[in-house]
């Protein structure tokens, strides 16, 4: 694992050196940084395979910071299954983003590469942290990198404080809980914290206090309901390769890893776990709804991420940490693929991000269309896709629990809404009337070699990461114990039901069914008016208190103006999907028989 950290550092330093001399944009030197990142990815994959074959835990101490007699912080590199797995994911996605940037970004490529590699390096430091202070350093560094990345774009100078300020509240929660941990357990190492909290039955109220404050920090970091403003604003102005790295595997989901590392503290309090389930459920549904009503593809990507992270928090609330990890891994690759494909669309349309100004691109961008369908399929838990295996484990854990009725409806609703907004994007972008400028149409092409090849490689990982991780984890007992996978698995029928329902609902919503649409509008109009006026008042108060930017008002306005899309190819797509589902179900039945 030290070699992974070292190679990430070398990549970062190389990028910095080449950026200083503006070498990255020249033909001769532009592959140096991506190749270095590729070597890092290869090293991390090698370590991942070695770890699968021979699971072990090791720690390499770099230095100790001694502030007082009983206040010592250690900085080093922890090599365990979790750190190696996540660093492997981060390295692969960073490599793909590096190569993607060469094709996507024409100006200031060097700046983006430096920021992408800096973010990956800091994330590896975070994952390999043994103590809370090292994690805190890494989290602060991530915020600074995003802040600097946002400020480098002249148009978005003013939103820097909107990005950094919520993290100050997260720091309050983090510091308070870290200090209380320090004087309760005399240590801030994760191993010591987990060991002492398991043995400590008398100080449950202290543990609850710690977990509440840490949860505040985690909710801000994972951009959950009420704390998502910073992520939406930062991603609105950043480029797709950077967004791919941030949303899929680094900044947004890092709170989940913190939850997993401190799992025993959160398990000491049922109240805290219930909060996680409730907030996770609400965030999952809320952001899926926002994604469904949003028309900016970049924003949809962000809301989709927040929604999926909500599911991971639900998994942690049910103490299903193995499920959270597999959701993390599969989500990382699927989201990266989706980001790359959306980037291809934006690149082909010369920067257009509004769905209203797209349409009818099915014949003009066939490869991108196929990739988009594949990316969507990998997210909505269709069989043989990576999210299918993730949901299998996830729902298996949920259904085994007593409180499954609390979480199951939001999970099903989120899955349906996820399918809906993804297919809505497909219909809006690739079908219907062309709403594009003729000059854009004249220059449109999808023959960017870097972007296409990166997307194909990302597709490979998006499809197979789930099955690789699933069988690697289940095949080995030690790995199963490490990742806390229980033996319960969800019946495939339930997953098929969910994915089918999602596709059917998406098809109906986007299909030209006027009476249904008019009825929905009429029913919706009363509710939307109430939301508009009532929500306006509440949202202003909430905006100041909880960083929600006129959410209720937006929902009200959007419902009033919902355009029911009359997709001409919706019937074809729906039929293809149903055929795929039937075929996959038959394939699974045959496999089980064999």
């Amino acid at each position: 694992m030290e070699y992974v950290v070292l190679s990430q550092l070398i990549t970062l330093v190389l990028g910095n050196i080449l950026q200083q001399h503006n070498f990255i944009e020249s033909e001769k030197y532009k592959y140096y940084v991506p190749l270095s990142s590729f070597i890092t990815a290869v090293v991390s994959i090698v370590f991942f395979i070695l770890q699968i074959r021979n699971p072990s835990v090791g720690y390499h101490n770099l230095c100790d910071l001694c502030l007082a007699k009983n206040i010592t912080f250690s900085f080093g590199v922890l090599s365990d299954s979790l750190s190696i797995t996540i660093s492997c994911v981060v390295s692969i996605i960073a490599t793909l983003s590096n190569f993607y940037s060469i094709g996507y970004i024409k100006k200031n490529t060097n700046t983006f590469l430096v920021y992408i590699n800096a973010l990956s390096f800091v994330m590896v430091i975070f994952v390999a942290a043994k103590s809370l202070l090292q994690s805190y350093v890494a989290l602060e560094s991530m915020v600074i990198i995003i802040y600097l990345m946002t400020r480098s774009d002249k148009k978005s100078e003013s939103i820097g404080s909107a990005i950094a300020f919520p993290h100050k509240w997260a720091n309050v929660g983090f510091i308070v809980s870290m200090i209380v941990i320090m004087y309760t357990f005399q240590s801030v190492d994760f191993d010591d914290i987990n060991k002492f909290s398991m043995q400590n039955d008398e100080q449950l109220d202290v543990l609850e206090f710690i977990s509440i404050f840490m949860l505040l920090a985690i909710f801000v970091k994972t951009a959950q309901f009420g704390f998502s403003g910073w992520l939406t604003k930062s991603m609105a102005s950043s480029s797709i390769p950077f967004a791919a790295v941030v949303l899929s595997s680094t900044v947004a989901p890092c709170g989940i890893l913190l939850l997993i590392r401190l799992q025993t503290i959160f398990e000491c309090s049922e109240f805290v776990q219930n909060i996680m389930i409730i907030v996770g459920s609400f965030s999952a549904v809320f952001f899926a709804t926002r994604a469904m009503l949003c028309f900016n593809v970049n924003q949809i990507l962000v809301y989709s991420t927040c929604s999926q992270i909500g599911l991971m928090i639900i998994a942690c609330g049910f103490s299903a940490y193995g499920a959270a990890i597999i959701l993390f891994v599969t989500h990382a690759f699927s989201k990266a693929l989706l980001a790359f494909v959306i980037g291809s669309v934006i690149h082909a349309l010369s920067g257009e991000q509004n769905l209203h100004n797209m349409g009818g691109l099915f014949e003009l961008l066939p490869k991108t269309y196929a990739l988009f369908i594949s990316a969507t399929a990998s997210i909505i838990c269709l069989p043989l896709m990576s999210s299918y295996y993730a949901y299998k484990v996830f729902l298996g854990e949920i259904l085994n629990s007593e409180m499954y009725l609390v979480a199951l409806p939001p999970i099903i609703a989120t899955s349906i809404l996820t399918a809906t907004y993804l297919f809505r994007m497909i219909y809006k972008i690739f079908h219907g009337e062309k709403n594009l400028d003729e000059t854009i149409l004249a220059y449109m092409n999808e023959d960017n070699a870097y972007m296409n090849r990166v997307s194909y490689i990302a597709l490979f990982f998006a499809i197979f990461s789930g099955v690789i991780f699933y069988y690697a984890a289940y095949a080995d007992e030690v790995w199963r114990d490490i990742f806390a996978f229980s033996k319960s698995r969800c019946h495939p029928g339930i997953l098929l039901f969910i994915s089918t329902l999602g596709i059917v609902f998406a098809t109906i919503v986007c299909k030209s069914v006027k009476p249904i649409a008019i009825q929905w509008l009429h029913h919706g109009r009363f509710i939307s008016k109430w939301l508009h006026y009532g929500g306006n008042f509440i949202s202003k108060w909430l905006h100041h208190m909880c960083f929600i930017s006129a959410t209720c008002t937006n929902i009200g306005i959007k419902l009033n103006k919902v355009h029911i899309f009359t997709g001409k190819h919706s019937v074809v797509i729906g039929s293809v999907c149903i055929v795929l589902i039937v075929f996959s179900y038959l394939a699974i039945r045959i496999t089980n028989l064999l």
């Binding site: 910071l65 007699k69 206040i71 404080s161 300020f165 509240w169 309050v172 308070v176 200090i179 209380v180």
Partner: protein, 454 residues
């Protein structure tokens, strides 16, 4: 490790060099040799800084008290730290003043040298009477600097009232304790058994005096006016250390019982100061005022640490005070030279900004961490309140500061600009490293002795 007499001689030399330089400056003709006057000050300050750095690196980690009939010095880790910071700040002041001060050069440099010498002696003196005399000299020198070189007012009367009130309170406290005990040595007084009422009277007077000099709420009016950068560096950087040092070295050891009784009331009152300065910093429009408010907020946080009744809090307060002085100095210097607007130096000039924002691995984080640690142990609610006010508040203050700095025109970098930028940043990093080195053991022993293991 060096011999005791050698360290005593070195510290005596350190104290006397600025005085000798002041005497030399008196002899130099101001009209024709202005540059010479400035160079004498710079070289003197540089030599003092080099000597104090040598003392810091090679000083044996035990407390050394040298008794002579009328003049004795107490050299310990805390005094050396404070002397080092004072020497550094004075050096930066003289470097900045070389291009900034064009009138009354002689007066300015003499005042600065006298101020430096007095402060260095103040941090090592053991005689409480001499301490209050030195305090008066420092306040006089500061008052003259403010009066001669303030850009807005010629006769700062409210500065006079507040500062000298502080000095009067200190003198009253000193006279009282000497009249009660007949002892002048601080070390002996800390072992003397006084009644609770005697301690209380001394505590109230001395605390009020140091509170006025520190410029905390609501007695902060004298810190927030416009002065030349070199004067401001001395006021914010150097003089702000006096209050805290006096409390650690004199007030707490002598009035221990009163300290144990009233520490929580004082820390709660000082919290008001923290809240006020943190929030008002983001409402200022002049960058000097913003930095003054940030500095005073940090001094208030240090005071909270001092009165948390935990060794961690006191050590954190020491770190906080030192780092605050150096960081504010570096921000003043960097901004005065327009270096914050320069993209090529952004990677270096961002370090002081990140320090103010309590970025981990930078020294201010350690101080604040220890203070919040001790406050949370003492009173959970106030600890959380301190944390909740400090972190977002400092962020907005720094944001406001950066907005004010960006108004300036981007400057072309010259070779001399590195002299203004590199030393403060290197000093901040070195301070961060030294905080975590083995020297903390001596600091903890000394602090535990002061607090009696509280």
């Amino acid at each position: 490790m060096i011999d005791n007499i050698f360290s005593y001689s070195a510290s005596l030399f350190v104290i006397l060099i600025p005085l000798i330089s002041a005497l030399c400056i008196i002899k130099i003709d101001e009209k024709n040799l202005q540059l010479n006057i400035k160079l004498v000050s710079i070289w003197s300050s540089g030599f003092v800084f080099a000597l104090t750095t040598g003392l810091l690196l090679f000083f044996d980690d035990h407390e050394a008290i040298y008794y002579y009939e009328y003049f004795s010095l107490n050299i310990n880790r805390i005094s050396i730290y404070f002397m080092e910071v004072t020497a550094f700040i004075t050096l930066m002041c003289t470097i900045i003043a070389k291009n900034e001060i064009d009138h009354d050069v002689k007066k300015f440099n003499i005042m600065v040298m006298v101020l430096e010498s007095s402060m260095l002696m103040l941090f090592s003196i053991t005689n409480i009477l001499l301490y209050s005399c030195l305090l008066e000299i420092i306040v006089l020198a500061a008052y003259f600097l403010v009066g001669f070189f303030s850009t807005k007012r010629k006769y700062p009367s409210k500065d006079l009232i507040i500062l000298f009130s502080g000095v009067i309170f200190v003198i009253l406290g000193t006279v009282y304790i000497i009249s009660v005990t007949g002892v002048r040595e601080i070390y002996v007084l800390s072992k003397y058994s006084l009644s609770f009422n005697q301690e209380l009277i001394f505590f109230v007077m001395f605390f009020m005096g140091l509170y006025c000099i520190s410029g905390l709420f609501p007695l902060h009016l004298w810190t927030a006016d416009s002065y030349p950068t070199s004067v401001f560096i001395l006021l914010l950087g150097a003089i702000s250390l006096i209050g805290g040092f006096g409390m650690i070295n004199i007030l707490i050891p002598i009035a221990k019982n009163v300290y144990l009784q009233v520490h929580d009331y004082i820390s709660h009152i000082v919290l008001i100061s923290v809240i006020y300065f943190t929030l008002s910093a983001s409402a200022q429009r002049d960058y000097q005022r913003i930095l003054a408010h940030i500095s005073t907020a940090n001094i208030s946080v240090s005071l909270m640490g001092l009165f948390s009744c935990h060794a961690e809090g006191i050590v954190g307060a020491i770190y906080n005070m030192m780092t605050n002085s150096v960081t504010i100095t570096s921000l003043l210097v960097i901004n005065d030279k327009g270096l914050l607007c320069s993209p090529s130096l952004a990677k270096i000039s961002i370090i002081p900004l990140l320090t103010i924002l309590s970025m981990p691995l930078l020294p201010l984080f350690y101080g604040e961490f220890l203070i919040i640690y001790s406050m949370l142990r003492e009173n959970l609610v106030f600890g959380i309140l301190l944390c909740a006010i400090l972190m977002p508040g400092m962020f907005f203050a720094v944001k406001t500061f950066c907005e004010q700095c960006n108004i300036g025109i981007e400057k072309k970098i010259s070779g001399y600009d590195f002299f203004y930028l590199i030393p403060p940043v290197v000093f901040i990093v070195a301070l961060g490293i030294s905080v975590t080195c083995c020297s903390t053991n001596a600091l903890w022993k000394y602090v535990s002795r002061i607090t009696g293991g509280a």
